[in-house]
């Protein structure tokens, strides 16, 4: 990746963050914090990594994405809209009655959503099922899933981890968006999960630790994952909850609270300034 490609990704990620802010503002609810922390991962996956076709969302040979931390869908929806799966204006109807964009991902209603998720711990199992189906059919598609660091407190995550390793699902990449915060506080205070790298290693994963906001590190981790044979890969991505909006960064209070009009305008302007600055550099 050259510097202009990275700049383009940064611009797209900032736009995705704007979409998450736009959506949660219009919904008067939702989860901005984790949406912002995972936005760079979503952006890289959909723009650089995954083999997908927005005009044919159900294409059989596509790579699959499962947002196991389903509540962080606002920025995923924004990336899908930017990719052309649906109209950007859908974000202004997020969580409204009859909306295409539900509070948590719904594969029946939303083009581009490969699995309905929202109940933590469940998406990762579904991702394992898709990866296994790919193996069974001798298809070369890959399956990606993003979990929250609070989410790994769910026992099902570890059931799935054992299953993935036992079945040698090397076509599965599991991200943990380690923003360090969950609803009740810091993850380490609520129910500590460390050492997470050693846990995933012990469960049979190739483990890669990265800065989840550094596109070069995201790229090199995913490139490495493609070379790993016989076992799944876990990418532990250190992130900042609320990333990109200064007053939301590292604030546990922004886990599940929507911005009011003033906050929406301030956040949008701050992200717009980032975009302008990046475009100026291009």
């Amino acid at each position: 990746m050259d510097s202009s490609e990275i700049k383009q990704l940064k611009i797209l990620a900032a736009k995705a963050r704007q979409g998450a802010i736009l959506g949660t503002f219009h919904a008067k609810s939702g989860h901005p914090g984790g949406s912002l922390s995972a936005a760079d991962i979503f952006t890289y996956l959909y723009y650089k990594e995954m083999k997908v076709d927005p005009k044919n969302p159900k294409w059989e040979d596509r790579d699959r994405f499962v947002l196991s931390k389903g509540h962080c869908c606002p920025s995923l929806y924004a990336v899908l809209a930017l990719k052309g799966y649906f109209d950007w204006d859908e974000l202004t109807r997020l969580r409204h009655v009859g909306a295409m964009l539900q509070g948590h991902p719904d594969m029946k209603r939303t083009p581009g959503i490969d699995m309905s998720t929202g109940s933590l711990g469940q998406g990762v199992s579904a991702a394992c099922g898709m990866a296994l189906a790919g193996k069974l059919d001798n298809k070369d598609y890959r399956v990606y899933t993003v979990l929250g660091d609070g989410e790994v407190e769910e026992g099902q995550v570890w059931e799935a981890a054992m299953f993935a390793a036992h079945n040698k699902l090397d076509n599965l990449v599991l991200f943990v968006d380690q923003n360090g915060l969950q609803i009740d506080g810091a993850v380490e205070d609520v129910a500590g999960i460390e050492p997470l790298d050693k846990k995933f290693e012990a469960f049979g994963f190739e483990v890669i630790k990265i800065d989840g906001h550094d596109f070069e590190q995201i790229k090199s981790a995913l490139d490495k994952a493609r070379t790993v044979k016989g076992k799944p890969t876990a990418i532990l991505a250190k992130t900042v909850k609320g990333k990109g909006v200064s007053f939301m960064e590292n604030q546990v209070g922004w886990h599940g609270v929507a911005p009011n009009k003033e906050q929406y305008e301030a956040a949008t302007a701050e992200l717009e300034a980032q975009i302008k600055e990046l475009e100026g550099e291009c």
Binding site: S116, S125, G129, A133, L136, F163
Partner: protein
Amino acid sequence: MAEIIKKATRESFGEALCELAKDNKDIVVFDADLAAATKTSIFQKEYADRFFDCGIAEGNMIGVAAGMAAAGKIPVAASFAMFATGRAFEQIRNSVAYPELNVKIAGSHAGISTGEDGATHQCVEDMGIMRAIPGMVVLNPADHWEMKAATKAAIEYNGPVYIRLGRLAIDSFNDPETYSFELGKGITLHEGSDVTVIATGLVVNEALKAVKELEAEGINARLINIHTIKPIDREIITKAAKETGRIITVEEHNVVGGLADAVCQVVAEECPVKVTKIGVQDTFGFSGPAWELLDKFGLTQPHIAKVIRDVVAEKK
């Protein structure tokens, strides 16, 4: 009279999966370390490449099955009814039923006839739990032939299905030459106008024997076999309520949530009549040989016959 085959419905289920898998390459089977008991082992033996033991992790098993269905497979996930519908309830609800994924969930060792293992393994709530989930199809076949036909219908149906399997070997009463299974349609096994007995699953044959026994006493009881608990056959139940005026339900399940409640909902809306509920009376089971337990819970021929007699006497 057709030959009587004495077999547990779990075994009929395993055989049916094997037969169906021959022509249907999309069928994949999952178990949670109970393949020898749920009889998915029969499938495993022939189709090892399409069988996956998930270990003792039912929640993950259902989630994996959901992912498989999302990728176009027809996954069948089996465990004991207790763990499939209890432990993995929320995975079934959110990962399978909500996205309407084509997963078949098989709950074996259902009801008190699980026997000696006792209450922790005797699921008397599975039909109620599964019935409460929007869009879920709930099947409870009554003998070998019905289980085979129901398994075929479940595979052919596109959407989530729960199918209840029994541990206990029971006599078949259907004739494979004439038997036909239609999803959501009850089957009248015996005509009558004094009262209607509506039974499901493993105890249908006991009800059939009871109804036949009472013929000699001049009691004409209608018997309906409900193999599909959901969607329930409203027509056959309403007609029975109108024509016989009284209903007795028989199920190896809690009288809360299962067949009894499903029947009561229909008659309350269509034609209110008194409903007498034979089943587990909102208690837990306990250890013991299966037939002794069925007898204790009033689910054998003599008990069912006595209730029918009492209801008919009360009616007159």
